[in-house]
């Protein structure tokens, strides 16, 4: 056996096309897919803002006042506006996927997609109103 494979004549080289990191911009449905995946970054961002708010509330009134002032800075207003758009996009894509991910049966018949969608959006509305009601009572 030849110990050195580099001398093999006409050895086939694998043909692999390099895929650009921007592959998802070439097709609209790929772009929507990647934007949907990126929503997770803004979900994490707001979870951290909530953690920050919780810390301020645990520390006392001065920390809470400072937090409110910081959230009013332009950098946070811009970040929060962008995050809001992405979080709403996450909610809509998430609800629209539910009928496909979860097939419900009632009395042996499949519950129509529209009913599951309607329940999702109704729950969204009711919970949002409840949260707003509790927060705005103070």
């Amino acid at each position: 056996m030849n110990a050195d494979p580099h001398y093999t004549l006409y050895h086939p080289r694998w043909y692999r096309r390099r895929v650009s990191v921007w592959w998802w911009l070439q097709n609209r449905s790929y772009t929507v897919f990647v934007l949907r995946e990126i929503t997770s970054v803004f979900v994490a961002f707001f979870a951290l803002v909530s953690l920050w708010q919780l810390r301020a509330l645990a520390q006392g009134p001065e920390a809470y006042a400072l937090l409110l002032a910081r959230l009013g800075r332009p950098i946070f207003l811009v970040l929060d506006a962008v995050a809001f758009a992405f979080v709403v996009f996450h909610a809509i894509t998430w609800f629209n996927l539910t009928p496909k991910a979860m097939v419900l049966r009632f009395r042996g018949k499949r519950v129509p997609d529209g009913v599951i969608l309607g329940l999702n959006y109704a729950a969204w509305l009711v919970l949002s109103a409840a949260v707003a009601f509790v927060l705005l009572r103070g």
Binding site: L68, L77, F84, A91
Partner: protein
């Protein structure tokens, strides 16, 4: 890793639902409506009193923790596919789920220690 994959997927799914149902309203009020003065922000005393109730504490733990696990799971695959980092699988998984665990621990500690 293989054995806890169903659990991680369940956390991803639960966190996605919590974030979808509750994040838009919280983010709109806390991030936009209160700082921009559209609606008056709740007073400290009121929020602090809410925080002393066990139901509020459980709610906040769920609100912070589950969406972090949702992020960890989804962002992991975003890094693999989007940035073609398949060779860093273990490192990325540890960083993502580790960050979610850390955030959960911080929230639990704050909720536990607040008086």
């Amino acid at each position: 890793m293989q054995r806890i994959t169903p659990l991680l997927w369940l956390l991803f799914s639960a966190g996605g639902t919590v974030a979808a149902l509750l994040f838009p309203v919280h983010l709109f009020l806390t991030g936009l409506a209160f700082p921009l003065g559209w609606i008056e922000a709740p007073r400290y005393e009121y929020l602090h009193r809410l925080l002393t109730h066990p139901v509020t504490r459980l709610y906040l733990l769920v609100l912070i923790s589950l969406p972090l696990f949702h992020w960890a799971h989804r962002f992991r695959y975003t890094l693999y596919d989007g940035l073609q980092l398949k060779h860093l699988t273990a490192l990325i998984a540890i960083l993502c789920y580790g960050a979610a665990l850390l955030g959960t621990a911080m929230a639990a500690y704050l909720l536990w220690s607040v008086t």
